[in-house]
Point group: C3
Amino acid sequence: MGDPVSALWADVEAIRARNPLVHNITNYVVMNTTANALLAIGASPVMAHAEEEVEAMVDLAAALVVNIGTLSPHWVRAMERAMRRAAERSIPIVLDPVGAGATRYRTETVRALLRVATPAVIRGNASEIAALAGAMVRTRGVDSTIASEEALDLARALSGELDCVVCVSGQTDYVAQGDRIWTVRNGHPLMARVTGMGCTATALCGAFLAVNPDPGQATAHAMAVMGIAGELAAERAEGPGSLQMRFLDALYRLSQSDVRARLCME
Amino acid sequence: MGDPVSALWADVEAIRARNPLVHNITNYVVMNTTANALLAIGASPVMAHAEEEVEAMVDLAAALVVNIGTLSPHWVRAMERAMRRAAERSIPIVLDPVGAGATRYRTETVRALLRVATPAVIRGNASEIAALAGAMVRTRGVDSTIASEEALDLARALSGELDCVVCVSGQTDYVAQGDRIWTVRNGHPLMARVTGMGCTATALCGAFLAVNPDPGQATAHAMAVMGIAGELAAERAEGPGSLQMRFLDALYRLSQSDVRARLCME
Amino acid sequence: MGDPVSALWADVEAIRARNPLVHNITNYVVMNTTANALLAIGASPVMAHAEEEVEAMVDLAAALVVNIGTLSPHWVRAMERAMRRAAERSIPIVLDPVGAGATRYRTETVRALLRVATPAVIRGNASEIAALAGAMVRTRGVDSTIASEEALDLARALSGELDCVVCVSGQTDYVAQGDRIWTVRNGHPLMARVTGMGCTATALCGAFLAVNPDPGQATAHAMAVMGIAGELAAERAEGPGSLQMRFLDALYRLSQSDVRARLCME
């Protein structure tokens, strides 16, 4: 248990063995990508967004992923219903506030969703988390060039304010569960040239939350697996097209020795 | 004609020669994937879902593919209008009841669509077909771990009840046209780790229906081509990412000798 | 400046240096593909279609891409609002009239969008541009088998009528800015077997318009880069699946010597 590699690997094996159903209400751009990533790691993705069925689908799921990347009012209503139901059933929720801070509609939508239910995990980049922290903690504005230390402070503050895990991803990923902090330094710069890598990280958080009751650790594991698969893919990639393909292969083929050789998590 | 390889190959050559327009009203997850598969086999895909234009688009098409993977009321109304028009114009319809049985909304939507028009072909996995058979034939419930023989019985019963071809795909694919049965044993397990492979099979059924007036045979041919292309792709794939890429290449490069070497259809 | 290779390469370097934000309101089929192409060339894509936020997103963007590939009324209203705002802010607009001429709804939607604002560039295939020219110039109908010379005449006529750049893409691409004409003969036939290559060309036009104030030259540059990346990808592709992957790699790795060796633009 004290061994981080073994703890992470236990989650991967649990996902591969149980194939947890992960219900995604996510954006049009990444639906295919995130479904494929969930399948590659061993989970079972379902995408469903109609108000007529989101509650029934949540009831079947082991985790709910909500991502506002291409939102519109009909989708937001479905997100609210799904999150409320998930909270009632104690099904863990991951929220990806894509573009929070870029438009008022996105920032306000995230605030409205947070009034409906507290997610187990919020994962965003530094700008998005800063926008939420600015809105919720009222201490900072939006800034797209945020230093790592500042990102960590924001994550910690938002985690305390909302009482949920907050993950700020970037070159270094920080996961804050109150004052408990995980730092993950896996990954490769080419990943930033493939659309939806952040959304894929969020979806993987859903798979790990489905098998690990410790949301902070589950999130750190998901981020580390993202980064390690990205490193493995980048070794033989010739650009972002082949990186995307090899990333799915790497998730599928990931071995405990890959994790042991590469894990950079504190 | 008696030679199954020649009959299948005649369909492939007809698709490549005529580039039939296949109108898809399908789900967000697979739109790109199924459009690419249709292009790779030689058909011409079009995606259109607005009520304002689905009838006009159906009028231009050689086949209509309806897939409820990410449904919502506006899309269902468009599906109904498109199916009604296709039936009036004798344009063959393929229906993919994605997730039937998982939520009541999906099961009821499929039933509503079946009241509008009878498709030439329904293609689903065993659980989905069981859900429809349970709803229509009132003999079975939903079960995701259905034995092959049972899947065949379900397909035959539903085909008789609805008077259309029913295809249950899985490790073995069964195509039932009343009591006439095709069994296809092509394919590779890694295909199940790529999202939308079932939806792609449904889309290919549309292309084969566009050139072959025998809907049972057209469906069996489509399933065999799926499976053979999947086998060819899997030979050199390192995981689901490269399988997906190589699958499109294999569809595009498929030769009669590939079919002769691999076809496993009775 | 007189050297076409240097002029084109200056645009590529500007995109890579500035990472211009390109706001896309585009179709479901190609969202992932076009976002990845924009990232590969060095731009920063955002997809947003809600009426509640399109104006705020336009305000952040260096170019607006509007593509009617999978339109519906809610999306059309958002396109109108975004185009009106972009015109007010002098943000260049690229319009892709996907399927104009195929259904009345598409043709009329494009006409309505053109009444809202004049794009900097319209890019379509010969049939689509003919449909617009028929509707606007009232001289021609829709024809999917249009000879190259006729395509050029159509582009020139529509450009004069609308006072914007018109690009007709095909085996040869023509860009008309009134009587000024660019002819681009780069590309590879296999590109036509990958869905969304035309939409990707349109998206790249957005990236080039964001850094080059001459819309005709920017469009010609975008079409040449598309074609050259397609040629590079086709050299090692085994079919449309690997072409799509290698195309993104080629956009990302594109060098000035690639352009010098291959540019075929007059």
